[in-house]
Amino acid sequence: MARATGKILSGEPRWRTQGLFRWLTALLMIVGFVLVYFFFLIYPSLRVLQLSFTNADIAGKGVFVGLANYARLLQDPNFWNALWNTLYFILLTVVPNTLLGFIMALLVLRLRRAQKLVLAAFFLPYVLPVSVVTNLWIWLLDQNFGIINYLSQSSIAWFQDPVFAMPAVAFVTIWWTVGFNILLFMAALQNVPRELYEAAQLDGATSTQVFRYITWPMVWPVTSLVLLLQLIAQFKIFDQVYLLTGGGPFDKTMVVLLLLYRSAFQQQQGGYSSTIGVVLLVVILLTSLVQARYSGLGRRTS
């Protein structure tokens, strides 16, 4: 019926030509989001760039100092240590978490009756607040009374040990977030058209061949998405590290965002901490651009 009416009116309907009024309606609709978006995301992101060229304190008062902060950053052993530790954390989490997510997705998809239940078991940690996760693992990994040291008959102080602290934080992160990866992989695996498997079976393909030529190519786009999403998330790592180790022992788990936080809120260096912020911003923007190319902001709409 709607279609018929549209045909009778033909051409540009009247309600579409009342230009000014329609612009005002549109303006009214976007103004709320646009205001908070520019005030609280775009403006701070530009201001951080400007602050990085000043010696501002945390109240924002300071003068232009050119590239002094950047020169200092390049020579700051604390910065390089934090960057190195962040990369180490990425290495310990991103690939293992993706692999585990993929394997568990394959295993969980095989299940019939218990599938929902088992998926929930893996996904449940993901909906816990980070401080609940960290408090829980501080308890599980307690040196004297923790159940893990009891079961393994060890007495390691996991989060205070220079060697084990970072792997322990990485492990907690994997426990917390692998459910997300499993979910994405399960969706990808279920999207592989059944006919492809049937055709392969008719052609007498072995299960290794099926995996190599059907499953894997269909799942690779999601794999790259999962890898890059994690890369971005783990480069910004702060919460778990701050709550589990506070950056210690001996700065062995000091990461970039924690260094920024210390420099800003404990040493009151608004300018220098903004410089670290710019590094964070640039690295994540570049990684996101790669992600946009792969998983496609462009393809989002199709």
Binding site: F33, P44, A121, P129, V132, G277
Partner: protein, 277 residues
């Protein structure tokens, strides 16, 4: 014959292994609950008791009586609900305009909103904190809420869904004289209740769980949200794990319940926000 038996055994052991692994994975959550129901002396018993016997609620009553946990709860409930409602309303309106209306600068605006996906707000907490300080919003609900509204994800998702609504449906209402607001709320929104629910639950869980920003913008104990507040309890009690775990159980309760009740919606919401729909 032998071969098929072998494969069936293999399949059965894979199933068993998966179930076992699932149990191991969820065990910490069980341990959190069990520990919270023990007395302080029972928590440090070796070997540990796998069941709380007798069940002891003293950790809960102690926390409720001696910590500001109810205040933190109230802070979290209020800010998370306000964030969820505002994120959805702002996104709904903006996405509708982007999808259905023409206005100058529209492609630009959409491009900037898409670019916002890539901007980590963590990089600019320093100017953001300065801004909040200048506005006098440190240690306030508005201070906690406002930056969390600047999230482009809901806008982009709504726009995608609105683009798929057949134009004729909206046009029919417009010819009947409906305003654009009317068209949005009586045609477009009702057609997209599922994604609205999914977005609402995912936004609520994210707001409830957000640690970093409330941690930066609150430093007075009564203004903390629950994920920030419970880190104070832990340092105050030292080794008193029954109490720490009781606060953890209380802090996690709403998101866990939301997930268990609305599993399918949560999954949908996660898929949509990851760009996989």
């Amino acid at each position: 014959m032998n071969k098929s038996l072998f494969f069936r055994l293999l399949a059965a052991s894979a199933t068993l292994l998966t179930l076992l692994f699932g149990l191991v994975w969820v065990f910490p959550v069980y341990w959190m609950l069990v520990t919270s129901l023990k007395s302080d002396t029972d928590t440090t018993l070796l070997p540990p008791k796998l069941l709380p016997s007798p069940i002891d609620f003293s950790a809960y009553t102690y926390i409720l009586a001696n910590s500001p946990i109810l205040r933190w709860y109230a802070n979290s409930v209020i800010t998370s609900l306000v964030i969820t409602a505002l994120v959805l309303v702002l996104a709904l309106l903006c996405a509708y305009a982007l999808s259905q209306l023409e206005f100058p600068g529209k492609p630009w605006l959409y491009w900037i909103i898409l670019a916002g996906f890539m901007i980590p707000f963590q990089a600019s907490i320093v100017p953001l904190f300065m801004l909040m300080n200048k506005l006098g919003l440190v240690n306030s609900y508005a201070g906690i809420v406002l930056p969390q509204l600047a999230s482009p994800i809901a806008v982009v998702i709504y726009k995608q869904f609105f683009d798929q609504v057949p134009r004729d449906l909206g046009d029919a209402a417009r010819i009947d004289g409906a305003t654009e607001f009317r068209v949005l709320f009586s045609v477009y929104l009702p057609m997209n209740w599922n994604i609205t629910w999914a977005l609402a639950i995912v936004t609520f869980i994210a707001a409830w769980n957000n640690f970093f920003w409330p941690f930066i913008v609150t430093n007075s104990i009564p203004m903390m949200t629950i994920p920030v507040g419970i880190t104070q309890v832990q340092s105050a009690y030292g080794i008193a794990y029954a109490k720490t775990m009781a606060t953890a159980v209380m802090a996690a309760f709403p998101t866990v319940v939301a997930y268990l009740l609305f599993q399918r919606r949560v999954t949908e919401g996660i898929m949509a926000t990851a760009g996989l729909k």
